[in-house]
């Protein structure tokens, strides 16, 4: 694309506006988008706290409670990043608002970056609220903040991207619910949030290693506990690459207008 003049080649104001719109959208319904996920994570925590007591996690020098907290925070981040992009796109499509996005002078990369950035913000807000509420009751250690940040960021980008792809693919709310309930939910639940893979029989351990979310949760948890089921620095490359690929797929889909334009 030939830029006409420097001022108009990139629509920074446009991308920023889309980003703030997406952020304000979830802030307008914060009970549903922030308080509820934080509360759900808290409930899991309370339940497992009393079910498991102060038991240690096998193979790790940590108690089950400390083990659970980072995993639940990451799970909430992943699910919310997915929900933010997928709900926005499908709502626009079902209600007919998506045409304003198509009519705006925004390039595919501007649209994708704005959507993903908003998904990351929602994920971060949810995680911070969850951890802040929890901080009086649990000893939180941020042993490797750079690992926490990187996994949090990449995880949100991957899930925000999957939400975007799901939203673009879906024709109605049911389609999005299908992806969310049959793909995202099982993958996050079976990713080692509630257990260490070392507790599993060998076959299930292998299956778990094939679940991409496992690496996200495990790496994120390593940032807090300094211990995990995998080497977080080796997984890091995989996670960064996955985030990049997801972004590229989103960009390519938006560029072609697949399922968005007739």
């Amino acid at each position: 694309m030939r830029p006409i003049n420097a001022d108009e080649s990139i629509n920074i104001i446009g991308a920023w506006t889309l980003f703030t719109r997406e952020v304000r959208r979830f802030l307008k319904v914060k009970m549903q988008t922030i308080v509820t996920p934080a509360l759900t994570a808290m409930l899991y925590l309370v339940i497992f706290r009393y079910a498991m007591g102060t038991r240690q996690v096998p193979g790790m020098a940590v108690d089950y409670f400390s083990f659970l907290v980072p995993g639940l925070a990451m799970m909430a981040m992943l699910q919310n990043a997915f929900a933010n992009t997928s709900s926005s796109i499908i709502m626009g499509k079902v209600m007919g608002m998506h045409i304003y996005l198509l009519m705006a002078p925004l390039s595919a990369i501007e649209v994708v970056v704005a959507f993903l950035a908003a998904a990351v913000v929602r994920a971060l807000v949810v995680a911070v609220v969850f951890l802040a509420v929890l901080s009086p009751f649990v000893d939180l250690h941020l042993l490797h903040p750079e690992v926490i940040l990187l996994y949090g960021l990449c995880g949100s980008i991957i899930m925000g991207g999957l939400g975007l792809i799901g939203g673009i693919w879906a024709r109605d709310f049911d389609h999005v619910a299908m992806v969310s309930n049959f793909v995202i939910l099982p993958l996050t639940f079976l990713s080692g949030v509630f257990y260490s893979v070392k507790q599993l029989p060998p076959l299930w351990q292998q299956i778990n290693h094939a679940n991409p979310f496992f690496y996200l949760i495990d790496g994120f948890r390593y940032g807090f506990l300094g211990t995990g089921d995998t080497d977080p620095y080796a997984s890091m490359l995989v996670v960064i690459a996955t985030a990049l690929i997801t972004t590229l797929v989103c960009w390519q889909l938006w560029r072609t207008g697949w399922r968005m334009k007739e």
Partner: protein, 321 residues
Amino acid sequence: MTALAINGLSKFYDNGNQALCDVSLDIPEGSFYALLGPNGAGKSTLINILADTVRASSGAIMLFGHDMLTERSWCKRRIGVVPQEVAFDPFFTPREVLAFTSGMFGCRPDFDWIDALLARLELIDHAKKNTRQLSGGMRRRLLVAQALVHRPKLVILDEPTAGVDVELRRRLWDFMRELNAAGTTILLTTHYLDEAEELCDHVAIIDRGKLLTARPMQEMMREIASSYLWLNYDKPVELSADVVEKLVDFEPRLSDEGVCLKLGRQQNGSTFHRAYQAAVASFGAPLDAGVRREDLEDVFLRLTGKPEHHHMVDEGNNASD
């Protein structure tokens, strides 16, 4: 200068329907252009291609000399579209909607202009309500404000007055005329042909995806529209083969106005006299008679082959006068 040059535009949908077939159209800068056609003629497809919500199968579009395909962003910043469907983000107020739209088009929100638009479209008292609380007419006006918020040079209105009451429609048109006078090029589709005739200086008619005619409104009315003599009788009148034979020069037909005799494009005294004499000779003296010039609706119906005096019904719209 040409504001919009459409060249050989075609659109096939995936289901094989051809919505547009090799349409070429030049819209002069500063014109108020009516794009007319029956339902399903391809008007909305054409507008949706311009709005970039539908992809063209082939053809080229130039906006003020810039290619829509390769300089899309440049072009989009200069187009404002009022879509047919009314839909708003349910989370925001009209003022927020306008500020967001403005930003998406790369302009920092200019709240003086936004409030001026809201005031002009009589929405200022509702600026802080949620868009869900607005009435149908208000939402439609908000759509118009939304299309104008980035001060486009070409405004495209897809049936902006469907479902809008007469009074409001008149005020909306006043506003559009003002914009047009200030140099904005306007492309309009509407089913209110009397309004199109009054407002627009150019007209194009499409039917079944094909362009039938495109010319200045005056030229259209001068060259395509013809005059006819109508004669009203207090008794039933029949056009027997014999009578048709006698009146063949005047293409006689019956309508709810009575007997209609075509006078040709240039109304001229002697034609009128001959037609009147011939009618009196065949049917006797009429109760009432007059000469009427075809209006845009008559021309439209004649060109698109729709039955005479079959008034178009706006789908989902009962608010017409």
